[in-house]
């Protein structure tokens, strides 16, 4: 199984990111709420993950030879659903059910609800540790697949994240790639004020990781970083620290006072989609 390669007539990564944002906004509109600022911010990372880096077959989301993608940040589910829809793992029509009773797309991501959701990540800080176990398991099976763990900068507050980081370094888990979405905003305010985890790169490096820090809204930079992470030769786990901008792609939301749970009024969803459409690059 090979990575999703852009063919002549397949959408560009920019277009994929646009569609992921659009799917997320449409889900936000259905529910009247959602962690939309995070979803818009991380859309480029997901586009590069699902349409450049990951190896998978949409019709067989649990194939043994897939790369694993763990969503440690359960409340980013709206973003991952948007990507899974774009990837063809979830039918687009299902978007209308987001967050409604008996939907396969609940507000917080859970493995038992959604095809393509590998773990239940709502209790923050557990993804990387599970990723360590999966990476050890894949090595036991002599698999050359990667485990990707997407986490937020807020999850760096959690102790188990660092137990896992130390363990990954100890076991030299070259098949583990951690993506940290640094949007600098936690439930109670800016990350650096809640609990400052900077400087990030030296920390990960000290734990034995191959470290890159990139603009998480620069698709070309992300592609280079994912390629470098996969190609890195030493037996080290790899982390890509992605600085992202919350609400990216919808200017009037980007400039709104930032909060963990961005309020969007009922009448603002359509203008938000219109603003996104206006900025469409392809």
């Amino acid at each position: 199984m090979e990575a999703q390669q852009p063919l002549a007539n397949t959408p560009s990564l920019e277009e994929r990111a646009y569609r992921i944002r659009r799917n997320a906004l449409r889900m936000g509109e259905v529910q009247g709420q959602g962690y939309i600022a995070q979803a818009l911010g991380v859309a480029d990372v997901l586009a590069v993950s699902y349409f450049h880096a990951l190896r998978y077959r949409p019709e067989e989301p649990y194939a043994e030879d897939r790369d694993r993608f763990l969503l440690s940040i359960g409340h980013y589910a709206i973003a991952l659903y948007a990507a899974l829809i774009e990837a063809g793992i979830i039918p687009e029509a299902e978007l209308e059910t987001y967050g409604t009773d008996d939907s396969r797309l609940p507000m917080s991501g859970m493995a038992s609800y959604t095809p393509g959701m590998e773990i239940s990540g709502g209790s923050l800080g557990i993804g990387l540790g599970i990723g360590v176990g999966m990476a050890l398991g894949l090595k036991r099976k002599n698999s050359d697949r990667f485990v990707y763990n997407l986490m937020s900068d807020g999850e760096l507050d959690e102790g188990p994240t660092w137990e896992a980081a130390m363990s990954a370094g100890h076991w030299k888990l070259g098949n583990l790639i951690c993506i940290v979405d640094v949007n600098r905003m936690q439930a109670d305010g800016p990350s650096t004020g809640v609990l400052n985890s900077e400087p990030l790169a030296p920390k990960w490096k000290a734990f034995g990781w191959h470290v890159q820090r990139v603009d998480g809204n620069d698709i070309a930079a992300l592609v280079r970083a994912f390629d470098a992470a996969r190609a890195h030769e030493a037996d080290q786990p790899r982390v890509i620290i992605c600085d992202t901008k919350m609400a990216k792609g919808v200017p009037f939301l980007e400039t709104r006072e930032k909060s963990h749970f961005l309020r969007v009024e009922k009448e603002e969803w359509q203008p938000a989609i219109a603003a996104l459409d206006e900025g469409r690059t392809s």
């Binding site: 694993r68 859970m110 493995a111 038992s112 590998e118 773990i119 239940s120 709502g122 209790s123 557990i126 990387l128 540790g129 599970i130 990723g131 360590v132 176990g133 999966m134 990476a135 050890l136 398991g137 894949l138 036991r140 099976k141 102790g159 188990p160 137990e163 896992a164 130390m166 363990s167 100890h170």
Partner: protein, 352 residues
């Protein structure tokens, strides 16, 4: 409340202190953290968990062992020696241990995970709940020092582990009695598909149940000894104590039955209701656990719910307290879970 000026716990060992009753007794010293429960001269079997695990793992290459720096103290070293490439030393990081086990189970392996019961229950609850149990992953959490099996003090005494774990949906909870039970339970949980918490007796483990017509079955309570006056429902090594107490009480013509219920969850409601429903018997639930939230309360709720009313219901259990440090025999007497203390309690209850 500040403890900076005392009073201090302990202190009776200082010269001239202590009760009159204690005066002519030698003071025992706190045994090593992992002292055997075996009474002097009692038959034992070494590391029944470790040996059963290597036996079952022989034909099950997907079984792996994982620990948080406690393989030697949980008998997992036996597995590690036999299958070094299937053993994962995860470091003294219990939260990671549970998460990594979840990851291994995601990949189709069956991790047998060991640490102390206090750490698994108190420290890693959320990681077991959300990483393992919520997804029904096939992880076996086998923990030494359950209840009051170390004199080390509250840091290592898991007197509330069952209370903590009973609240976790889909988790099977097993509390074996002796070496035979531990070995058979190890094989049974390996054959069971789903998350399990097992209380582990390790080291030189007493061997008792081979003298009875008994075999461990997951989810089943077994009547080990019948008796007309009292029915003891027990789990863990308290079944061994109950059998000892029953022999002593027999000398006083008190006829005590013992129903061993090593699977705490799901409880064998059918057998318990049948035995507790037999007319005229006081029901005593005996467990190496706090009186809160363990087998006793589980049985009490079951009997109430189903309208089964024994003439009396009593608990032999640890008090709802942070227990003393000290030698195990001293502590088991002090808190009423030695065979002598248990026999005395039952006699007292019957005479009222």
């Amino acid at each position: 409340m500040s403890r900076t000026k005392g009073p201090w716990r302990g202190g009776n060992a200082q010269a001239g202190l202590g009760t009159a009753a204690d005066a002519d007794k030698p003071r025992l010293t706190t045994s090593a953290m992992i002292a055997s429960l075996a009474a002097e001269g009692q038959r034992t079997s070494p590391a029944p968990f470790g040996h059963a695990l290597i036996e079952v793992a022989q034909d099950r290459p997907e079984i792996v062992g994982m620990t948080a720096d406690l393989s030697k103290y949980t008998d997992l070293h036996v597995f590690a020696q036999q299958y070094p490439d299937r053993f994962y030393q995860m470091g003294m990081a219990e939260q990671l241990l549970m998460l990594a086990a979840a990851g291994m189970a995601h990949e189709g392996f069956v991790p047998f995970v060991t640490t102390y019961a206090a750490f698994a229950s108190r420290r890693t609850f959320d990681f077991i709940s959300q990483g393992i149990a919520e997804e029904g992953l096939n992880v076996k959490i086998c923990c030494a020092l359950p209840g009051l099996t170390t004199g080390y003090g509250p840091s290592h005494q898991a007197t509330e582990d069952i209370a903590i774990f009973r609240g976790m949906p889909d988790l099977t909870i097993v509390d074996p009695c002796d070496a035979l039970d531990t070995a058979q339970a190890t094989k049974a949980i390996a054959a069971h598909d789903g998350p399990v918490y097992m209380r582990l007796l390790r080291g030189k483990v007493p061997l008792v149940l081979d003298e009875y017509d008994y075999a461990f079955e997951l989810g089943k309570a077994k009547l080990i000894r019948d008796g007309a006056d009292v029915l003891v429902i027990s789990s863990g090594f308290m079944t061994m104590r109950a059998l000892e107490a029953a022999s002593r009480l027999a000398a006083d013509r008190v006829d005590v039955g013992v129903l061993h219920a090593p699977t705490i969850k799901p409880l064998d409601t059918e057998t318990i209701l049948r035995e507790a429903g037999r007319a005229g018997r006081m029901v005593v639930v005996a467990e190496n656990h706090s009186e809160i939230g363990g087998l006793g309360e589980a049985v009490a709720a079951l009997l109430m719910r189903e309208g089964v009313r024994p003439p009396a219901f009593r608990q032999v259990a640890l008090p709802d307290a942070f227990l003393d440090a000290g030698a195990l025999p001293t502590l088991h007497d002090r808190y009423g879970i030695s065979a002598d203390a248990m026999a005395a309690s039952i006699k007292g209850w019957l005479s009222r």
